[in-house]
Amino acid sequence: METAFHLLAVGLLVAAVAAMSLRHLVHCALCLVAVFAAAAGLFLTLGAEFLAFAQVLVYVGAISILIVFAMLLTRTRAVDAASLSVRPRALGVTAAGAVAGFVIAAVLTSRALPEKAAAAPAVPVRELGRELMTQQVPALLAVGLLLTAALLGAVVLALREPPAAPSGKEPRA
């Protein structure tokens, strides 16, 4: 178990770094897929099988493809290396590092976390379903609504505008 975790964790982090720093966009996309896959694996080690598969389905199957499509649709001339990142790059990295460091520090020094690593029993899918349909129904419905809205929004946004109307009646000055 330990080794799976370590392997997956390292793979995850390396792929993430790669995804965020590679030059070629499609390489970034592929690394992203690796990240999501590794995350799915980590979910498995945590006993959330359903979520692992959901992760693969949604993230790897849909989101990554979307990103690839978007990359393909917005291709321009090749960008030179010097302007890969926003200048100054150090600021962003520092900020992110600060955040990460802060969280790690909080985790390590926290007294709220339980000491004993008592693994909770795995949650069967049935349990998940019941939770969804009873306790979290409002949230479920809301998310449904949200998804619908997002769908519609995305369609509208990406709609190609009709060409400008021929110069007919101009408004009188």
């Binding site: 975790f5 964790a9 982090l13 993430a16 995804a19 965020m20 720093s21 966009l25 996309a29 992203l32 990240v35 995350a39 945590l46 006993g47 959330a48 979520l51 959901a54 992760q55 949604v58 993230y59 849909a62 989101i63 990103i67 978007a70 649709l73 917005t74 321009t76 960008v79 302007s83 990142s85 926003v86 600021l91 962003g92 990295v93 900020a95 992110a96 590092g97 955040v99 990460a100 460091g101 969280v103 790690i104 976390l113 339980p114 000491e115 690593a117 008592a118 693994a119 029993p121 949650v123 998940l128 939770e131 969804l132 979290q136 997002a150 769908l151 995305a154 369609v155 509208v156 946004l157």
Partner: protein
């Protein structure tokens, strides 16, 4: 180091990497990707807590993650649609060049 802490640290690192990417990359799509990474880190956090947190309702964490995934998907879709729309108007997705709202 307890298993929980391990997972948490990994999640924190992943979050930091995602944030770094979102803050530094010029391409808008990669910024969105960074945001996805951050959300993934959050999911990891939630499941770890659900497993090792010692709460009475272990399913709560996983349900939460479900919702996060759904929302992330929606948000990515809309965000990419925005980028495409932006691309149509300005023929670029470099964030540096989209500064018409400059003050």
């Amino acid at each position: 180091m307890s298993p929980l802490e391990r997972y948490l640290i990994v999640a924190a690192l992943l979050f930091g990497i995602g944030l770094a990417g979102a803050l530094t990359r010029r391409n808008a799509i990669l910024v969105l990707a960074g945001i996805e990474l951050m959300l993934t880190a959050v999911n990891l956090n939630l499941i770890a807590f659900g497993r090792y947190g010692g709460h009475a309702a272990p399913a709560a964490g996983q349900v939460f993650v479900l919702f996060v995934i759904a929302v992330a998907a929606a948000e990515t879709a809309v965000g990419l649609a925005l980028i495409i729309a932006l691309f149509r108007h300005r023929r670029t997705v470099q964030l540096d060049e989209a500064d018409e709202l400059r003050g």
